[in-house]
């Protein structure tokens, strides 16, 4: 039984220019204690997917359909009051930008205590003790002195630690991290990723990690969902995805990365730009940029279906199995040949 099961999630925004289909039929599930990576480029719908699950999209002009079953309850139809008790308690979220997601006029201690007092029936003193304990757990040095400091007194990496502490306040079962390390330098990113890993072992939370960085996904995820233009185009366990990617977009992504461990003279480039979601291409949304495009791709949107003999690996592509296998092998052999 999955902890969270998202089925056919659709989020449309009404705008002056028409309806933007920001998320268009996304399904995935995540088990207890596991990490799911959602990768995609900007505008592919990764963040909106998670905001929809959390019920954080603006109510006006948003149309949401589908199901998001968290412990058998549909988050999408839950009353706002009920949802509030789930949010920050059972499900917590970490945002990309630690500079703007903390309140600048309250000390971090106060902000942490607020989250505790809202969901737990404890005294202020106990809440403060818990806040302090968490700051220590996320590795803030001299936490007992820094608890009364304000966000501007912390560096970016330290603020992200505070955000993580705040998310962990009530031992959530699910932690949604939206590009938690994108605004950070590599050495700080390494610190935060290893911290999240340790905390996951300790607290047993499941994590949904949204990122555009395939390196981060390879590092932390158990399963990976690849999104393109508001849809899921490929889904697989992490080892399988990197060992046998099945979708031309995933090949393009892997080939377009400059990498420390490979000598590549020329990067593979995916031609063109991601499409507008106001008026996405007919058929497969990747077809205008796809080097393998066939006539069927222009008319029929390929469904997300399991690969034969590999029920955990799903892809949405009209190419036949043989071509997919051949191209994936070719790509991996080029990579192996380029190993530094």
């Amino acid at each position: 039984m999955a902890l969270l099961e998202v089925r056919d999630l659709k989020t449309y925004f009404r705008t002056d220019d028409g309806i933007v289909k920001a998320v268009d039929g996304v399904s995935f599930e995540i088990e207890k204690g596991k990490t799911l990576g959602i990768v995609g480029e900007s505008g592919s719908g990764k963040s909106v997917t998670c905001l929809s699950i959390m019920g954080l999209n603006p109510r006006r002009n948003t149309i949401t359909s589908g199901e998001a079953l968290f412990k058998d309850q549909n988050l999408l139809t839950m009353s706002p009051r009920k949802l509030r008790s789930v949010r920050g308690n059972d499900i917590a979220m970490i945002f990309q930008d630690p500079m703007t997601s903390l309140n600048p006029v309250h000390s971090i201690g106060k902000q942490l205590e607020e989250a505790i007092l809202l969901h737990r029936d404890v005294t202020k003193k106990a809440a403060r003790a818990r806040a302090l304990e968490l700051l220590n757990a996320v590795g803030i040095p001299r936490a007992e002195r820094r608890i009364d400091d304000y966000p501007h007194q912390f560096s970016g990496g330290m603020r992200q630690r505070v955000m993580i502490a705040m998310a962990l306040v009530n031992n959530p079962d699910l932690l949604i991290a939206d590009e938690p390390t994108t605004a950070l330098d590599v050495t700080t990113q390494a610190q935060i990723l290893s911290l999240m890993n340790t905390l996951q072992e300790e607290f047993g939370s499941a994590i949904i990690m949204i990122t555009h960085d395939l390196g981060v996904v390879a590092e932390v995820a158990d399963d990976v969902v690849v999104m393109y233009a508001a849809e899921v185009v490929e889904k697989a366990p992490v080892d399988r995805l990197f060992a046998r990617p099945h979708m031309p977009y995933t090949w393009g992504l892997l080939g377009s990365l400059p990498r420390l461990d490979l000598n590549v003279e020329r990067l593979v480039q995916i031609q063109g730009q991601p499409p507008s979601l106001l008026n996405p291409p007919k058929g497969c949304r990747f077809h205008p940029r796809c080097p393998y495009v066939m006539s069927i791709c222009k008319d029929v949107d390929p469904p997300l279906k399991p690969v034969p003999d590999e029920p955990m690996h799903l892809d949405a592509c009209h190419l036949d199995q043989e071509t997919k296998d051949r191209e994936a092998t070719k790509l991996l052999e080029t990579m192996r040949g380029a190993a530094a």
Binding site: E41, S42, P141, S155, G157, M158, D185, V186, T187, T188, Q189, A190, Q191, L193, S194, H212, D213, L214, G215, V216, V217, A218, E219, V238, D239, F242, G252, L253, L254, G255, S256, L257, P258, R259, L260, D261, V264, R266, L267, V268, Q269, I270, Q273, P274, A340
Partner: protein, 358 residues
């Protein structure tokens, strides 16, 4: 094995001729107190004594974390900021103290590509004007010639000549960055300083721009100083790489040398922190997680700037004696008393410093 390298003879017998030489460049920003009488209370040492040479036709990559002084250095080289001290020699001429008028002919030879394609193009001007502005400033041709040149440039960077009359907002981020590249190319410069040109772009678009920059270099014999925080990108595009930390160049080497045999512990930590898009390789690699944050450049640590975070820190040496750039064969230099003996290494192995350099 290691001997001190002298600034003057740092690049002997270089293949290409030296195009740009930077010698002991410093840029301090004053920190003042008081409203009317501003007292100088401290200085942010953004760039603190950086020396290097860029040869004609090569790409020098500059990596470092935010706040290490990469961009300030670039701006000093372009004379967009006046350096506090040091010398910048471009094609044999010291341009450090040139006046605006004297500087003008040199501005044609060195152009810049900026990080943010949304902020670096004037939203109220048409693409044609943005690209041809430099041509007009330098009085390089008639209006008709300039228009032809701009259309040619648009094609070179992979846009279409019909885009001449459009505004920047009609383009995506990647296309805007192409406009930025076309603008830099307009006056046929020798040197292009690229300040994080791809960090605002998505991976698929990033690959397009990186390929474009490489093609242009081959075609027009350009020299790049390529500044980025992404070590993957720098490795891909550079011939030689300089690693900066807190306003100092801590290591300098040919690309492959730096990535395969780093000598400075900071370079090692940076390399090991980069996630690898391959779960098997990535999860089994030896990772060095540094503790703490980059110190405040107003009050940097004594002696070796990295000693507060360094796993190899030797008390009584690293915090007392400032390391100079030691030479490790050929062009490889690093500012560390206890350089790494091999690579890769675990933190544990790194904690046991070997023999002292120098």
């Amino acid at each position: 094995m290691a001997e001190p390298a002298l600034a003057e003879e740092r690049r002997p017998g270089a293949a290409g001729e030296a195009l740009l030489t930077v010698d002991d460049l410093k840029k301090y920003f004053p920190v003042t107190r008081g409203i009317i009488f501003q007292r100088l209370v401290a200085a942010v040492k953004a760039v603190d004594g950086v020396s290097f040479t860029v040869r004609e036709g090569e790409t020098l990559g500059v990596v470092g974390e935010s706040g290490c002084g990469k961009s300030t250095m670039a701006r000093c080289i372009m004379r967009l900021l006046d350096p506090t001290s040091g010398r910048i020699v471009f094609r044999g001429r010291d341009i450090t103290k040139l006046s605006r008028a004297e500087m003008r002919p040199y501005r044609r030879e060195m152009m810049m590509i900026f990080q943010d394609p949304y902020a670096s193009l004037n939203a109220r001007k048409r693409v044609g004007f943005i690209i041809s502005e430099a041509l007009e400033v330098h009085r390089l041709g008639t209006a008709a010639e300039n228009k032809r040149r701009v259309q040619e440039l648009l094609e070179i960077v992979g846009l279409s000549p019909e885009h001449y009359n459009r505004f920047p907002h009609e383009f995506s981020g990647g296309q805007r960055q192409r406009i930025g590249v076309a603008r830099a190319l307009a006056v046929n410069p020798k040197l292009i300083v690229c300040d994080e040109p791809v960090s605002a772009l998505d991976v698929s678009v990033q690959a397009q721009i990186l390929n474009l920059l490489k093609d242009l270099q081959r075609e027009f014999g350009l020299t790049y100083i390529f500044i980025a925080h992404d070590l993957n990108v720098v490795r891909h595009i550079s011939d030689r790489v300089m690693v900066m930390y807190l306003g100092h160049a801590v290591e300098f080497a040919d690309r492959d040398e730096l990535y395969h045999a780093p000598k400075h512990p900071y370079t090692g930590a940076l390399l090991s922190a980069v996630p690898i898009p391959d779960p098997q390789k990535g999860r089994s690699r030896k990772q060095i997680v540094l503790e703490g944050d980059v110190p405040n450049p107003i009050n940097p640590p004594s002696a070796c700037w990295f000693h507060t975070r360094c796993p190899r820190f030797v008390e009584g040496d690293c915090d007392v004696n400032t390391p100079q750039l030691y030479r490790f064969g050929g062009d490889h230099t690093a500012a560390c008393h206890y350089p790494l003996e091999r690579w890769p290494m675990t933190v544990e192995e790194m904690r046991h410093p070997g023999s002292r350099a120098g």
